[in-house]
């Protein structure tokens, strides 16, 4: 009974972990690999990336037909997407769709217009307004002016509308947005779901594709094609790609490792048993991440492949020791101390990742640590129970012959390793800059998709979003008032040509205070009528023409204040959503500034304001974010290294022995990095992670070779196990290098090279029997 106890515990554990892993939610949100932002500004930036309006925008391109057909498909598509609850806003340049905006501007002109003041309703001003209206009536815009003149003789609406018009907008064909080369009709869709809600975004993309198929048929342009882009599309696509790659590559890695195991051990039973620690470790790792983080990242699952490469080693060390007739515990006893130390070293290296500010990296750490510890534990306590009858391995001597008995003394070999490490370091030094600061490199999205996104964005005239003035407040009202306080200074700067222009959420949603002030400026009906009547009598206009004006001004005096909800479904609502956000318990108003000629003058001018606005250079902040992420990764790496050295020192209790274990690791890391750099690859955080993995697996090899083998059979078995482990690791990682997901590819290629290098250098420290 007590002998079976570990198996029962293990079974219960597997069932529990599988259940947790089954229930887990999976994401592919790449911002998990952004560091937890250090400054409030960076937090704002990362928050925007994750759930800001930008993350909810879908860019739609229609191609492959004549411009006229494209315009028809665009209209049909917009018609089908409009009004669905999943899409907050759909725009294709069509005036019919812009009507919601026009209606909104007209209905709320007295609340929105910044020119409203008591003077505007005085006799002279009204006379001038009518004079102007009369002139406009004779012009080609007459039909348009005529429409609004009776209700809006002071021209508040047209002024508001034309202020919007001056903002950059795409070219049009037949009233519908089209690229300048007339090949792509453009649409902009804002989803109700945030960018990171991938299930909803997947459904949204499918809905757009279906609607497009219908629109294409309705427009009679069957050859037209759909291009979808945007952060959410990328995220969905990434999740799909990661899911696909992880499935395929884990299956392949399993197959390859299984084939190798079968080839060497020639036993299906051993094969099955060898996967017991791996599978248990993987399930436990997923369960740990699900429990600790709430969601499991796709990249983390990709690490399952890595785990196959490393955790299968424990089983190999065990089966490599099996001799006919020997109790399993006895076989295990010979390797367990070394396996345990190797495990401790690996865990030490991954622990550093656990403390990372990057959710994604911390997940990888948690997954790997749990996976390895569980795999080792299963090897230690479960495998010996299950593996009663398994016998010796064929061909050990032949494999052992692969590792030469070096004729040189150990010190010479260590010196040689030091030289190799030094050479690697020299290459790294020479290849500077070593680091890749382009966040696009982490993006799992291919270059073609990124190019499409860039093209659609440029055609849609997405504003140059480099400079933002940010003001914050405890309430929405406070943030809006602070934004309004910036209006004057920014206008002055624009007049002085320090900036070209700016936008503000208060242009579309004025603060309550501003609205109150404007309302107070509106005269009551009797007063206005008394002022207006003689003006109209002296004008060429018919009397009674401006009754709608009197009525609307009277209505505006008692209208409820304009609120955020009133803007829903309009382009202006979209703007306010992106320019006025609630994050981290505060309200932030963003004022994008274009054409900044002198950032210093701008910063100085707004810096004097009491509301404490900040000038945010998105470009510089992003660079700072990436630099902090890199230095954090390096710090973690160093921490991992210190932990490893400390562990080795504690166990080996000899400087020489520690040096003996570290020398091949240092050489392997240096040579791997040097090879990558020489091949033109710039290093990223993920290369660092992979190099940490190299240290993890390489330390096992070094520890085994560093042991003094008690006899020839033991030496042969050690060499066999290590070579075999390195082969499975290199194969599993090598497969990962075929992934189309850049992160997995980087880790795979680096770790595969590193595993081979580690093995090669570890043989240099192999001790013969003295």
């Amino acid at each position: 009974m007590s002998r079976r106890a570990p198996v029962l515990v293990w079974l219960a554990f597997v069932v529990a972990c599988t259940w947790i892993a089954w229930q887990a939610r999976y994401t592919a949100d790449m911002s998990a690999f952004l560091p937890a932002a250090a400054t409030p500004t960076q937090r704002l930036l990362v928050g925007e990336l994750r759930e800001g309006v930008a993350s909810r925008l879908l860019l739609v391109g229609i191609e492959g037909a004549t411009p006229d057909e494209l315009a028809r498909v665009s209209r049909e598509l917009a018609k089908r997407l409009q009004g669905r609850p999943a899409f907050v806003y759909v725009a294709n340049g069509d005036a019919a769709l812009a009507r919601a905006d026009t209606d909104f501007l007209f209905a709320h002109r007295y609340a929105l217009s910044p020119t409203i003041s008591p003077a505007r309703f005085e006799r002279a001003a009204l006379a001038a307004a009518l004079e102007r209206g009369y002139e406009a009536l004779a012009s080609p815009v007459g039909a348009l002016v005529r429409r609004y003149l009776p209700a809006d003789p002071t021209g508040e609406f047209l002024r508001l509308a034309s202020a919007l018009e001056t903002q950059a907008r795409p070219a049009t064909h037949l009233g519908v947005w089209i690229s300048r080369d007339q090949r792509t009709a453009l649409l902009l869709v804002q989803t109700a779901a945030p960018g990171f809600d991938l299930d909803a975004q997947e459904a949204n993309a499918a809905a757009i594709r279906d609607a497009f198929a219908e629109a294409r048929a309705a427009a009679g342009a069957s050859q037209a094609t759909l291009q979808l882009s945007g952060p959410a599309v990328f995220a969905v696509w990434s999740r799909e790609t990661i899911r696909h790659d992880v499935r395929l590559l884990s299956a392949l890695a399993t197959l390859v490792v299984a084939a190798l195991l079968l080839l060497v051990f020639r036993s299906l039973r051993v094969l099955a048993l060898a996967f017991v620690p791996v599978a248990t470790g993987a399930v436990a790792g997923v369960a740990a991440v699900a429990l600790g983080f709430g969601t499991v990242h796709g990249i983390t699952l990709g690490f399952g492949v890595v785990l196959i490469g490393e955790a299968v080693d424990y089983a190999i060390y065990f089966f490599g020791q099996r001799r006919a007739g020997e109790p399993p515990e006895a076989s295990l006893a010979r390797v367990w101390p070394t396996v345990r130390l190797g495990l401790a070293v690996s865990v030490a290296s991954f622990c550093a990742m656990l403390f990372s500010g990057f959710t994604g990296l911390a997940q990888l750490g948690a997954f790997s640590v749990t996976g390895l510890v569980v795999a080792a534990a299963v090897t230690r306590w479960v495998l010996p129970v299950l593996a009663v009858r398994d016998n010796a391995v064929a061909g050990i001597e032949r494999v052992a012959g692969l590792v030469p008995r070096w004729p040189w003394p150990l010190r010479t070999r260590l010196a040689a390793l030091a030289v190799v490490a030094g050479l690697g370091a020299a290459v790294i030094w020479h290849q500077r800059p070593v680091w890749d600061d382009d966040p696009a490199r982490l993006n799992p999205v291919g270059a073609a998709e990124q190019a499409l996104d860039g093209r659609l964005r440029a055609e849609l005239g997405a504003p140059d979003a480099r400079w933002l003035v940010v003001v914050s407040g405890a309430t929405e009202e406070a943030a809006l008032e602070a934004a309004e306080a910036l209006e004057g200074p920014l206008r002055e700067l624009a007049a002085a040509k320090v900036i070209a222009g700016f936008d503000s959420p208060a242009h579309y949603l004025p603060s309550r205070a501003a609205q109150r002030e404007r309302r107070a400026a509106l005269p009551d009906e009797t007063t206005l009528r008394a002022t207006l009547s003689p003006v109209v009598a002296a004008s060429p206009f018919k009397p009674d023409l401006f009754e709608p004006f009197l009525r609307d001004v009277a209505a505006a005096r008692t209208a409820p204040p304009l609120e955020r909800a009133s803007l829903r479904g309009t382009a202006l609502g979209l703007k306010v959503d992106s320019l006025l956000v609630h994050r981290g318990g505060e309200w932030h108003a963003f004022l994008p500034v274009t054409g900044v000629a002198d950032p210093q003058v701008l910063a100085d001018r707004i810096g004097k304001l009491p509301s404490g606005p900040r000038l945010l250079d998105i470009k510089a902040e992003t660079a700072a974010l990436l630099a902090s992420y890199r230095s954090q990764a390096l710090a973690l790496w160093m921490l991992g290294l210190v932990l490893i050295v400390a562990l080795l020192a504690a166990h080996l209790r000899s400087v020489l022995r520690v040096a003996q274990v570290l020398a091949p690791l240092a050489a392997a890391v240096a040579v791997t990095a040097a090879l990558l750099l020489a091949a033109g690859v710039k290093l990223t955080l993920f290369h660092l992670v992979a190099l940490l993995l190299v240290v993890g697996v390489g330390s096992n090899y070094a520890l085994f070779f560093e042991r003094e083998p008690p006899n020839e059979d033991e030496r042969a078995r050690t060499v066999f196990s290590v070579v075999f482990c390195a082969a499975t690791t290199a194969l599993a990682f090598g497969l990962l290098a075929w992934s189309s997901v850049p992160v997995l590819k980087m880790i795979g290629a680096t770790a595969a090279i590193g595993a081979v290098a580690s093995l090669a250098f570890a043989t240099l420290i192999a001790r013969d029997r003295t």
């Binding site: 006229d68 340049g93 005036a95 019919a96 812009a98 102007r132 009369y134 002139e135 009536l137 004779a138 012009s139 080609p140 815009v141 007459g142 039909a143 348009l144 005529r146 429409r147 003149l149 009776p150 034309s162 018009e165 001056t166 907008r169 070219a171 049009t172 037949l174 009233g175 060429p540 206009f541 018919k542 023409l545």
Partner: protein
């Protein structure tokens, strides 16, 4: 024997014959094709760039009396159009491709608009630009096109096909003779109308 009357008659016949010959030959030399929309468009397209003077009368139900104005109209193929009103006030209305610029000299004001956003302006621009360019395809993009009359006196009826535009403009009627546009009449849905008459000489 000589009958002066008969001689006169012969001379008259001769003259008439010559006149007829001149008219017929002239017409033949000019190569008047049968009057049809395509032929008219081809003739209009052959005009090329130029500036003409106009007078315009705008009648509006908002006003007690019509507004009269005058100025010049300049067109350069394929997309530039400028209406420069000189009186009652100096105002310039310029279109190039999809952009409209309205400049008031008196007020020193300048307004830039996107054509697509203003169906009313588009109706005006598309009808004149399309007619002056003889671009039937461009006209048909915005209008149902109907033609009446013959070479000496034709009228092109342009009925907006875009419901947006139709809300503002009921019809544009362009009248002319041969390859010359003489009159542009815009009937707004509101009942207002603008009649632009183009002077014979160019300048």
């Amino acid at each position: 024997m000589t009958n002066p009357h008969a001689a006169a008659l012969r001379a008259c016949r001769c003259l008439a014959g010559a006149a007829l010959w001149i008219v017929v030959a002239g017409a033949a030399a000019q190569g008047d094709p049968p009057f049809a929309l395509e032929a008219l468009m081809a003739r209009l397209a052959a005009n090329g760039p130029g500036t003409v003077r106009f007078t315009e009368v705008k009648t509006s139900t908002l006003l007690r009396q019509p507004i009269e104005s005058r100025g010049t109209l300049t067109y350069a193929a394929p997309s530039r159009l400028e209406k420069h009103t000189l009186a009652p006030r100096d105002e310039r209305f310029m279109v190039d491709r999809e952009t409209v610029v309205i400049e008031s000299a008196a007020r020193k004001e300048r307004l830039e608009l996107r054509l697509a956003d203003y169906p009313a302006i588009q109706a005006f621009v598309a009808s004149i630009r399309g007619t002056l360019a003889g671009d039937l395809a461009a006209l048909r993009r915005h209008y149902r096109v109907e033609l009446e009359g013959g070479w000496p006196d034709w009228r092109l009826h342009l009925l907006p096909s875009d419901p947006q535009m139709a809300e503002l403009v009921q019809k544009v009627v362009i009248g002319g003779a041969g390859g010359r546009v003489q009159r542009i009449e815009i009937l707004e849905a509101s009942g207002d109308r603008a009649v632009m008459t183009i002077a014979k000489d160019s300048g």
